[in-house]
Subunit: 483 residues, 2 copies
């Protein structure tokens, strides 16, 4: 058990972050990209040391954790690349137009600048990818913000060692002292969240904790943005044609997805909608029954799962199709609609519910029963194009990522990725926690009005010394600007 | 006095907006652009009727109000153009990469979709540009969101007539019924803000009202984004060299800017920092004394100004240099720092404070005395490049727009514009209320994962039928995509 950060240590962490902010914010993007790549390299180099610690603290298997390290370092490198390319800064230059109506237009140059120190509440279920070296940290560093991570108590030693590796890499690469800090303890995190030096916060965790922290962040004397990923059911809808064409593959894929990582994914498919008479019960039950016993992340998660599963099994209209290391439940759309709030409550862990629907109208009613989710999935065939065309807008209205014939677990890190969704899956549905624009959560625009080249930041100068991508008078270019 | 919207009328407005949302959200961007241009044309065509109503209700002069109509219709057309061009949707396409590490990457296509019905709290000081047909409405419509405007009681008849003109234009152009609605009454606005059908809100007004509404929006059962522009002091800093080179022009420009529109601009320069011994007192006082008497927007604003001015004049260390239709006060940096909270409180109306500084260190201390502002301005000469280089980062940390040798009143509408700033000038400093990315406040990303062309929205299809600008595998292009 790692002791909580003391008040003096917290004060030091906050002071260090605040003092790092101006230098970090003023750093040239290409220089910052170098610091971030140094962190990525250090993480990869430390994998042999860090992964065993993570295995011990999280009970997750080695291959998965090595993949997470690679994903985290790859994500850092993606942000470094986009800093070099320039799009992360969203530079827009409109040169002066003395003939503009109703008034002449000045030379205006817009760039995104960092907000300042960011507080990141780490998650337990991804000890690397959503923890100290995860997406919130990577995107905030790319934005030019110092980061203080509130460690998750599920993997305290890993958190400390990961932070040490990253801090040493930043120091060696020449980043300002205070660029990264780590704190421990629930109350310490709340105190930090209230501190005026903290300018934004990221969170991944439970709905109650996320709601409570959100309220603190937005009702402070100086409200700050709070980006919280809270919980998601990730429904999967399967058409009759898809069952007919590849029902067995769907059954296998589904069980694999909802039991992946002991069901401890925010994108775990919590419900699978199948047409009545699908004939897959036996296979689904057998596949679920064949899942190997595995330890959950920690005792608290295990207790939460046990009581959540117990609650769910007692809901009227819920039947047990298979139980053991993983649990498969069953109900119908009629019953789901009648007891919507009881059935549509996330149970974090290796359980999922098959929901049987009777005809297309019930399928649509099922889609419409959902609030916001991170993902929604449709399994369909080419013959379903008309039905899919009706369902896609309904799914889009309820999810941040809409999948076709896939499984929602596993979130590729790329330009186009979106990881977020309407409330309650996230607070702040207009933002993503994965992908390039995740940095935008920690940046604000500044426009310079008629400023001469000599005082402008390098990225806004006429000559575009770093050759970054900029929108000049409406067109994206890496060229120079003439006034 | 227009009566408040009744509960039945409010329910109708909310129901209409909610029922318009799916059709509006599904509209092709080019079609939506057409609806928006129809509104712009209708506004221009109605200017002869609307401007006299605005003159009577706001006491603002005709030329200014005609300029505002042109600015508002021009802004609508800018959004229509960017819808056609496509950047407003931020389409990003990453085609599948089966060789990606650590796992194969799916085909991912991201687009911004509308949040849903938006509530806009109109301001009094721009009866067109920040009211019914203003930037919040224009950007929300461009995003594809139905809008309900809570009319400002300062110009009730204008609000009703503007809404009628816009609604008729939308109807004739073929937009869904319920795309725009208007409600009246303070409590009615609060009730609307709490309604689950409202998905975001924009506000321009006072700090206390903005804070109260913000708290309601973010602590609802389902919290929603609230974009509030609250108040700003817009300091102007003048170097010795600038005084030497063009002190008289600066004095004239300053008085013109702080008295423009009877000082009723959110970007009014509230303080002018001059080096001690500037020798401009006589000219500044004379220019201020020469300002013609003009009626303020309404009695409530007038009362607020009278009491605010009275309060400010009584602050120790504040001296009156000129009073009459406009008021010029004077103090020093030493006194400002000693009574910071009393002096740095916005007084909306034709008053400003000359603050004298003694040397560069006091000038820097003056800059550092400020919290967040919409704008900060530096008047300097080429010889000041080193000093300006030190001041620019300090100004950038405190403002959303940094001006060089200009005046902050007047906000050009263009791609690069930013109108916003750190708290308390706005709640939500990462967003702008003017410029293209204002629409982003009312959009959320959705990523489609491996979806076939047949079910994708047109803007994401391989063939790019509308020829919009999209980022494909990292590069911006209007071309087709091959899978």
């Amino acid at each position: 058990m790692t002791p909580d950060t003391t008040p003096a240590e917290l004060e030091q962490a906050l002071a260090d972050a605040a003092s790092a902010a101006p230098a970090l914010g003023a750093s040239e993007p290409a220089v910052r990209a170098g610091w971030i790549r140094a962190v990525a390299d250090a993480l990869d180099a430390a994998a042999d040391e860090l992964v065993p610690v993570a295995m011990r603290e999280s009970s997750l298997p080695e291959a998965r954790l090595r993949g997470e390290v690679a994903r985290s370092s790859g994500q850092l490198r993606m942000f470094a690349d986009v800093l070099d390319e320039g799009s992360l800064l969203e530079v827009v230059i409109d040169t002066a137009d003395p003939d503009a109506k109703p008034v002449p237009r000045p030379d205006l140059r817009r760039v995104l600048v960092p907000l300042g120190p960011v507080l990141v509440f780490a998650a337990s279920n991804f000890p690397f990818a959503f923890s100290v070296c995860g997406g919130d940290t990577a995107s905030a560093l790319a934005a030019g913000c110092p980061v203080i991570v509130k460690a998750h108590p599920g993997h305290p030693e890993l958190s400390v060692r990961t932070a040490e590796v990253m801090i040493e890499a930043l120091r060696t690469a020449g980043a300002p002292a205070g660029t990264l800090g780590l704190i421990q303890g629930f109350d310490v995190g709340v105190t930090a969240l209230k501190d005026p030096r903290i300018t934004a916060a990221g969170f991944t965790g439970s709905v109650p904790a996320g709601k409570a922290l959100h309220e603190i962040a937005v009702t402070r004397t100086e409200p700050i943005p709070f980006y919280g990923e809270l919980g998601s059911l990730n429904p999967v809808f399967v058409t009759q044609a898809a069952v007919d064409a590849r029902g067995k593959d769907i059954a296998t894929g589904y069980v694999g997805s909802f039991t992946l990582g002991v069901g401890q994914f925010c994108t775990k498919p919590g419900l699978l909608f199948l047409p009545a008479g699908h004939g897959l019960q036996e296979q689904l039950a057998a596949a679920t029954g064949g899942v190997a016993e595995a330890k959950m992340l920690n005792d608290r998660i295990q207790e939460g799962f046990t009581s959540g599963l117990d609650r769910l099994q007692k809901v009227e209209g819920i039947r047990v199709w298979s139980s053991g290391a993983a649990t498969l439940l069953q109900t119908t759309v009629t019953e789901l609609v009648a007891r919507r709030d009881e059935i549509l409550e996330e149970c974090f862990g290796p359980v999922s519910i098959v929901v049987e629907y009777d005809g297309v109208d019930e399928l649509k009613a099922a889609v419409e029963a959902f609030d916001g989710n991170l993902t929604a999935t449709l399994h369909a065939e080419d013959a379903d194009t008309e039905l899919a065309g009706e369902l896609f807008p309904l799914l889009t209205a309820r999810a941040g990522r809409v999948l076709w014939n896939g499984w929602p677990t596993g979130v590729a890190v790329s330009w186009a990725q979106h990881h977020g969704g309407p409330f309650p899956s996230t607070v702040g549905s207009i933002h993503t926690s994965v992908g390039v624009t995740a940095a935008r959560r920690f940046q604000r625009p500044v426009a310079y009005h008629d400023a001469p080249d000599a005082v402008l930041p390098a990225v806004l100068k006429d000559s575009n010394p770093a050759g970054i991508s900029r929108r000049v008078n409406g067109t994206v270019t890496t060229g120079e600007v003439s006034r």
